[in-house]
Amino acid sequence: MQRWQLPLILTLFALLAMVLAGCAGTARGTRSSAFDGAQPVEVTDFSLSRAHALVVIRYPAIIHADAEEPYFHAFSINAIGGEVPPENRTKKVTTRIAQSVIAKSNYYVMSLYRELQRELPENTVLLSPHIVLWDREQGLYSRPILASEQIPSVLTIDFNVYSYPDPTELMDSPPVTFGDLVTPLLVVRGNRWMQPATNGLVLSSDPLLRASWDLSANSARHDLEARADFDENGFYRELDFIHFLASRNSAARDLPSKGLNESRRELMAVEVYPVEKILLDGALLQNLADDYASDPFVEAFVRDAGHNVKRLLNQIDHDRATFFTRQQALARFDPELAVAFLARSNLESVRARLQLAEALIEAERKFLAAQSAGLFEGAYLGDYGNRMREMIQGEYRLLEDRRDLAFKQNMTTAFAALALAGAVYAASASGAVTGIAMQTFSGALMLGSLWAMSSTMNMRAESAEMSENFLALIAPALERQISVQMEWLESKERISALGFAEFRNKTLTLYQARIRSLQADFSDDCEFRSPDLRGPGRWYGNCRDGRADGRGYGVIVDGSGNSLEYLGEAKDGLASGIGGAIRQRRGVAGATYYEGRFANGLPDGVVQVEEPGRRPAVREFRGGDVVGSVGENRLQRLTF
């Protein structure tokens, strides 16, 4: 090597170190979430029905033993924030991180639950824990453990936290949930009639957008086909995060989306929430195990996210959002009433029976709300919560020590700290505490900076000691929470589920003993047609001579991706009068919604149109064609 080359190489290394330091700097986490600044609002529920919940929160709670390997594999190959090299995918450390995602989701979801429960009316927020499963036919999937998702809800939120599977790559600032850093993933959706243009999807974390979109589209397709064939809809929506892991498809460029808090809020598109490493307030974490009156995750993220959820609740017409989920709930125990419900009949016999049925659903909601409160008490206030807080506090203290040490060593702080986060998972996975911790740490140093070459053994020893102390504190908690605590949760949920089955039997017996006959005949198989869609249609509601006539619901599916749904008034088998229609066209992402006046099966008169990626607009139609714009005051809306 020539003498002039040395300073050049050193300069290049120094520049590289600065670049890496920049990357690592962002790894410290953000103090202000994308939801920051959301204005506090009071939720006003003007809906006529008392049966529905306002929010159901779904999250991964337990994993079945058969699903562990497929889950670990999917977790390592479908990483958010980077590509894990094949040689790193099978490491035991990855399985520990995958497990920690479920364990920590169980804990952090309770902050979201508590905040929404505190802000929204009593018994309107429900928890829906999922078990992750695997079988040959379905592959990796999840299903709910409790019946919360059977209750009609205005919004459904999927929540989990996330950590990147490969700790050796933490220098690249991928998402992580460790100590004072939390990476939440969110999906918010409703029934497709709530926002037909996006199949009901309203908000999604960026990486989950494609998976959530596909699930919403599949859910709509299955529901339509079931209604067209008068079958039971056997589609269960797994957790969007699990679908993301299992589907290996994250391309979402062709989907109608928009940023958070944009002036384009009125657009019929999915709000996209970026992946954020939220930095919790260290002062609240110092003694988290003893003092958790002020929840650091609520302060840093949940409160603002909650304001956003409440804003959505105020924007949504709750009766429209829950109309079809209420109908599905009725169909579960009273199919005759469910058809009458679609006809939106004003008959007293229908009203009286519907009043009883909705009271039944309301009672189930109260019971499930009590179950959710029980889960919260166990997972947040009880033993599980205490151990999680001990662990998070321990992780935080270690990160802080590491940051101090890195500062003394003139090293990029976050970089060093996160490297150790990976080392903790690795160490707790293998048991080889000091060795792996140091190995990972040293490896990171070599990649990141030149000073490691000249660092003293003392400093290395100090690092090792700190790791060892920490792991002595943390590892037992990790082990226990993942094995025994999961068993505890599972058994607790099993008790809840059995309790619910018993309760439902009793209430259904009461209902069946008290109902009277319906004083009208509603059909579930009359002819329904559309001039611009081939294929046999099915009509549920009032009929004349075997054709749709009067109020009801019609559906046509042509088998090649085109479909039409219509709720409203009909005449001679065609949509005629006031109604709402969802039109899905093959190859087009999302659907178009028309609400207003129809004649001979087509929009005719003043109609509001909602299309994917556009603002809702009120138009004058003649025979299905737009002839001009008109004021909203002339629009006659469909009453759900």
């Binding site: 007293e348 009286a352 009271a359 019971f367 058994s491 099993r494 059995l498 039997n505």
Partner: protein, 259 residues
């Protein structure tokens, strides 16, 4: 049959009814607060949801009574519940009903104010009033009035049909409300009991877990909890089958009555 009717009418007139006690605030004021509340509520339930035109239907009966061609007698509200009055003296019943409708129509606002005042001044007494029992009485009276209108020759059936139909619909609605209240009460009871039961089970399980963690012990306790729940479910199924057997027995008895 006319002879029997005359006999029953005579019997009715001989009964110690509070004759000539026209409905007014003065007569009601003489009663204790609980009774005032009950009678005024019953009055509102009987006359609620009717349009003033109901009085027009009853006009011929009032005219007949005034001219002395039909028996006239002021009835108290409770008298209308008795089957004898309904069967024997339709004109008297309709005359009483006309009085009720008129009084309720003329004093609706004042009656509601009185009800509020009584409830405010006597909260314990009013909290014990059985609304469903009053609704049941009101339904009997309303049906009696509707049936009597339908079968009274002096009333034009064609003219009355539409108003009578609306009156009957309101009665059905009242019945449905009454049934819903009873249903809701029982449902709340089941719900609250189930929540308490579940809370107890979960608390018990939590306490087990808070003790020294012994995995084998926990596993055994999980199994115990499962068995406990399974037994509860089986027990309930047994009860359901018993009820079903009762229903079957009732059906058999009903069929045997027919033949």
């Amino acid at each position: 049959m006319p002879a029997m009717r005359r006999f029953l009418l005579t019997l009715l007139l001989l009964l110690p009814l509070p004759v000539a006690a026209a409905l007014s605030f003065e007569t009601i004021d003489e009663k204790p607060p609980g009774e005032q509340y009950r009678q005024l509520s019953l009055l509102m339930l009987i006359t609620g949801g009717t349009d003033p035109a109901m009085l027009e239907i009853l006009e011929p009966v009032i005219e007949l009574q005034a001219s002395g061609e039909a028996p006239a007698m002021d009835l108290e509200i409770d008298d209308l519940v008795t089957p004898l009055t309904r069967i024997v003296a339709p004109e008297i019943l309709l005359g009483g009903a006309a009085g009720l409708f008129r009084f309720a129509h003329d004093n609706g606002e004042a009656i509601q104010q009185r009800l509020t005042t009584i409830a405010r001044e006597n909260p314990i007494l009013i909290s014990m009033v059985d609304v469903n029992a009053m609704a049941a009485d009101a339904i009997v009276i309303r049906n009696a009035i509707a049936d009597t209108i339908e079968y009274t020759p002096s009333i034009d059936a064609g003219q009355a049909a539409e108003r009578l139909d609306a009156f009957r619909r309101q009665t059905v609605y009242l019945r449905n409300m009454m049934e819903f209240n009873a249903f809701q009460e029982e449902l709340n009871d089941i719900t609250n009991r189930a929540i308490v039961d579940l809370g107890g089970r979960l608390d018990a399980y939590q306490r087990m877990f808070d003790e020294d963690v012994d995995e084998d012990l926990i596993r055994r306790r999980i199994e115990s909890a499962q068995i406990m729940n399974a037994q509860a479910e089986e027990r309930f199924e047994g009860e359901a089958m018993l009820r079903n057997a009762e229903l079957m027995m009732m059906l058999i008895l009903m069929e045997s009555q027919v033949h």
